[in-house]
Amino acid sequence: MLAQQLVNALSLGSVYALFALGFTLIFGVLGVINLAHGAVFMVGAYAALQAVVLAGLPIWAALIVAFLVSGLFGLVIDILVLSPLRKRHAPHLIPMIATIGVAIVLNSAVQGIFGADNLRFPPGVVPDEAIEAGGLHITAVEIGIILLTFAIMVLLLLGLRRTSIGKALRAVAESPKAAALLGIDVEGLLRKTSFLAAALGGAAGVMISLYSNAVYPLMGQPMLHKGIAVIILGGMGDIRGALIGGLFLGFAEVFAVAYIGSTMRDAVAFGLLFLILLVRPTGLFGKASERKA
């Protein structure tokens, strides 16, 4: 049974990591704790559901639709909310509170349009087949989640390290002023980051709604709390940290359920998280010094 638990933990942890990626990207580059990330995650799930139900698209195409729609929401949120606050040099707390407002608006709008009911993807959207080997049961969704998360993670890390736009992003993350003086279009890069982060959030929304077969307006809320925990554990703004933090939380939850009991799941997971932060207050990959600008 241990192998089965490992598989379960890996796929759950991958979803957490995928969600946390966008979340940590926004924090690392824009310096904003984006509490609307759970809402764009939910928007992604609804976009994919509509693409499948209304347009009859296959799930991989619906995933791309969700990626683009959520990304667009991220871009609009940046243009309407985050960018005006940046121009006024609003202190960190202000954009964070503004994104709570954005989340409420999105949740209410979706609830108004689609209702509060729990919606499901029609059966057969994803292949039902599962790999059975030596008592091990792995579904297509689980394989998809794990592969997608690791592929995106590798692409992001390589992109940030090797490409010129990746270096520019790291420059903006450290000091927007120094980046601007190097001829980097800081505002443009921040917009692109907002798009990408929200798009990744939307993709995560699709994956978890396939995994748990549930799409509902407040589905982003529990994810948001876990996402915050994951990026604090991984080290705020660190990409590798999001992966390790997400996997950690996935493993902690699955093993807590398997060996201690399902009622103790969150208590065990967050208790462990607390213990790690006692030893390493800046998180696993966190830097001792915070960003200054």
């Binding site: 010129s164 270096k167 790291r170 420059a171 003086l181 001829g183 800081v186």
Partner: protein, 237 residues
């Protein structure tokens, strides 16, 4: 040689405070022009306004005849106005090499970039040994050298330098000023903002003295070195 940059009536406000109160100056092509003054006189604010990083409350900036007053900061850099900001202007979490590469961020001429890379390492040989280390691990003097080298990687037509001597040991200051003179002799127009008035006036062709947001004196570097007001207020004679 004509004026490459003409500034007229430049005003900058911070809230209700007038930090720069409508100043005029020109940078002649191929010259070192310096703006000297005490801490808080408005020197750095002037430079940040030129690069578009703080909003201008009034005035006009002409660069090679083109109005750049309202351009976005990155466009100003693309036109050829590069600034080395005050203090630790380098990116500490990137390597020395990455810092230099980012200096040429908007350029596409790969061969020329490679040539410029070798050129700046020739100017600052100490950087070559540290290429793959984090820029944050360099000494203060090396960081200043990296900042200048990185600005040169943009192939600017004008280099704006904000207090390159700040916080550095006297020997390093000498070296930095020697390099500034070298790159100017190679043809680059330089605008140097300094509190180290004596050093700045010594290498400058043209100089302006700024006090509480207004230009109170101008002349050649030599003239101002001997000016009674400069001697008394800044050189402690």
């Amino acid at each position: 040689m004509g004026a490459l940059l003409e500034v007229s009536g430049l005003k900058v406000n911070f809230g209700h405070v007038e930090a720069v109160k409508g100043i005029d100056f020109v940078l002649n092509e191929g010259e070192i022009t310096t703006l000297v003054g005490a801490n808080g006189a408005g020197k750095s604010t002037t430079l940040l306004a030129l690069s578009g990083l703080v909003p201008k409350a009034g005035g006009k900036v002409l660069f090679a005849g083109r109005d750049i007053t309202r351009l976005a900061p990155h466009r100003i850099v693309h036109l050829g106005l590069s600034q080395v900001a005050e203090g630790r202007a380098i990116l500490t979490r990137l390597t020395v090499r990455e810092n230099l590469e980012l200096g040429a961020y908007h350029r596409n001429d790969t061969d020329a970039i490679a040539a410029d890379f070798e050129h700046v390492l020739g100017l600052f040989p100490r950087l070559r040994e540290r290429l793959d280390g984090f820029a944050g691990n360099l000494s203060g003097g090396e960081q200043q050298m990296l900042a200048i080298a990185r600005a040169l990687m943009a192939r600017p037509r004008i280099l704006l330098l904000d207090e390159p001597s700040m916080g550095l040991a006297p020997l390093i200051v000498q070296e930095i000023f020697r390099i500034i003179r070298t790159i100017n002799e190679a043809g680059l127009t330089i605008f140097l903002v300094e509190q180290n008035v004596r050093q700045a006036l010594k290498i400058a062709h043209r100089a302006y003295v700024i006090e509480t947001g207004e230009i109170v004196l101008k002349g050649t570097g030599e003239e101002l070195l001997d000016h009674p007001r400069v001697l008394e207020a800044y050189l402690g004679v």
